[in-house]
Amino acid sequence: MKNLALACAAMMALLASRVSAAPIELGASVQLTGQFANTGRYYGDAYQFAVEKINAAGGVKVGNTREKLNLKILDNQSDVNLSVRQYVQLVTQDKVNFLLGPFASDFVLADSAIAEKYNVPMIQGGGASDQIFSRGYKYIFGTLPPASDYFDSTLDLMGQLKPPPATLALLYADDAFDVSVADGTRKDASKTKLKIVVDQRYSSKASDFNSILSLIKSQNVDAILVAGHETEVLNFIRQAKTLNVNPKLYSFTVGVPSADFRAALGQDANYAFGMSSWVPSAALKDEYFGNAEQFANEYKKRFGYEPDYHAASAVADVQAFVKAIESANSIDPVKVRDAIAKVDFDSLYGRVRFNSAGQINLPQTVVQVQKGKLVPIYGPKGMLEQPLYPMPEWSKR
């Protein structure tokens, strides 16, 4: 009882301190150093870029004034426990109005509990695992599409290839996101004519796929789907080459869309399929950046590396807050939270709107690396370009 009273008192104090505060404070704890830094940086940089652009355009309209956005980013050193403490600090000490999320489902799982505890809305573009959205939390929203749907468009594409692959190997790392992907893929594959002959879960710390690859080779599997992290996918492709494993097709949940991944593999990246909920196309119009293509160019000029869907998703998070604040015409957390649940707008990331659990639903576009370039192959509206299929053997490339 005392806890409840205390919590209420704290909330009222927080609210009182916020109503008259300006500018609007956004807070995030991101992996700027540590093992996940090479993806975490997309979020730190993109959040900043978005806030700058929005402020340059005049800021956020609340009531009769336009308020600027202020961004505070903390480095959680890729440590989940530290990120949780930092979010508490952001909410209670730095008194931010709203929260932006970290990268990776396991971080989001832990950090969103803080948002829920303190009733501060958090929009994150880094976690897609089903568990995040199945807890009935009200204050967490996500701009990454559900993990279980990741391979859907790839499976559709596979059904249209000639000759269609008959056997499938499904490999997945044992973390929250990849397990969700595998569960969903298994279910969807069972509705097709594909037969899953290898279904292997591997440890996220693994870098040695030799045994699995040898098994796949001995079974002559047609198609391989891998749900894992960039470092594992990289190893997988390299080891597939050294062991001379030649499936007709292989597709990966991560890695392929990012430029430094393709650079690290060089020629070996060719023919690999991947997916992205985002392509930097001029067709995706945006209020602040013009369109996705312009965004990509400016981002590259500003930060020195190409953005991918992580960055675009992060920008969408900031924009979603702006739209929600303007629609609620207030910075009261409860009102904004309700407004976020109802947003529906177009951005450089695509159409942003959240389902009842708080998650976005965007189709994945199947992409393929062809002659060193990333080519969108198959989107929600069907075939965009011809895929190079089947994959030629390693010795014949």
Partner: protein
């Protein structure tokens, strides 16, 4: 059957690299009684040294290997001479802790210097392979295996048949007597640790060609090296070959027949079992 043969070949090739990884650790442990928790971090540095020589100067990784070894030797020498020598007669536990501290510092500095991006060392022949009795043998793995064997044998010869090698062994066995013979222990200790670091550097180079590197691979490699060292036995550095091969094969077979998520259970389970049942390792003499 074909599959099992391929798995065994995989395991043996991996085992050679494993043996080299643990070699430096075994040397330092056996001679100096220092359990180096920063061993994996040194491997990581060796990998980066090779990476920069490869991408920056265009050197073939196997040519860069000796250079990486020299660089790591110097680093190891300095660490031992100016820091570890100061605490070497303290309870053994202290060296455990201090090397942990080094691991943290080295990893952090590496991340600042090299960024968190993962890197690969990708020479043009990285994908080459050939067939051996029905199994596909990747060329770089075979080369790594050969280098690992050569270095292990080289170390054994060094310790048995050269003056310095014998001096190192003498100092390990009886410091006072060695001193009476004119040995300078500070220098010798530093030399030993330097050699251990150089071997770690070599392992790092090979690891970078076979897998990918980032600043955080250190702690995992240290844990693995411990398992290999203990399983093989610490008496003679050559026993590490047994430990490496054993673990390489066991892991490959486990990944296939039980499941890839169980390799750590098996590796470390065997480590604990060996410690409990036969602490001197598979080949060591029971004390």
């Amino acid at each position: 059957m074909q599959l099992l043969w391929q798995i065994l070949v995989n395991g043996v090739l991996l085992g050679g690299l494993y043996a080299l990884m643990a070699l430096g650790l075994v040397l330092v442990w056996g001679v100096l009684n220092i359990v180096n928790l920063a061993h994996g971090a040194l491997i990581m540095l060796g990998a980066y040294a090779c990476y920069y020589l490869f991408t920056g100067l265009g050197w073939d990784p196997f040519a860069a290997l000796p250079v990486a070894m020299v660089l790591l030797f110097c680093l190891g020498y300095v660490i031992q001479r100016y820091v570890l020598n100061l605490i070497i007669r303290a309870p053994m536990f202290n060296t455990l802790l201090i090397t942990f501290g080094f691991e943290v510092v080295i990893t952090y500095l590496a991340q600042i210097a090299f960024s968190a991006d993962f890197r690969t060392i990708n020479p043009s022949y990285a994908g080459a392979n050939f067939s051996f009795l029905g199994a596909t043998v990747p060329l770089v793995r075979l080369l790594a295996f050969a280098v690992a064997l050569a270095l292990t044998l080289g170390l054994w010869l060094f310790l048995e048949h050269t003056r310095i090698g014998r001096a190192i062994r003498a100092t390990a066995q009886n410091l006072i007597a060695a001193r009476l013979y004119g040995v300078n222990p500070r220098h010798l200790y530093a030399l030993t640790f330097g050699i251990g670091a150089a071997l770690a550097g070599a392992a790092g180079t090979l690891y970078g060609v076979v897998s990918q590197i980032n600043p955080y691979i250190g702690s995992g490699l240290t844990a693995k090296s411990f398992a290999i060292a203990i399983i093989g036995g610490l008496d003679k550095s050559i026993y590490v070959l047994a430990g490496g091969l054993f673990l390489g094969i066991v892991e490959a077979v486990t990944a296939l027949y039980i499941g890839p998520t169980y390799t750590d259970v098996v590796s470390f389970g065997i480590l604990v079992l060996v410690l409990i049942v036969r602490p001197t390792g598979l080949l060591g003499r029971t004390a």
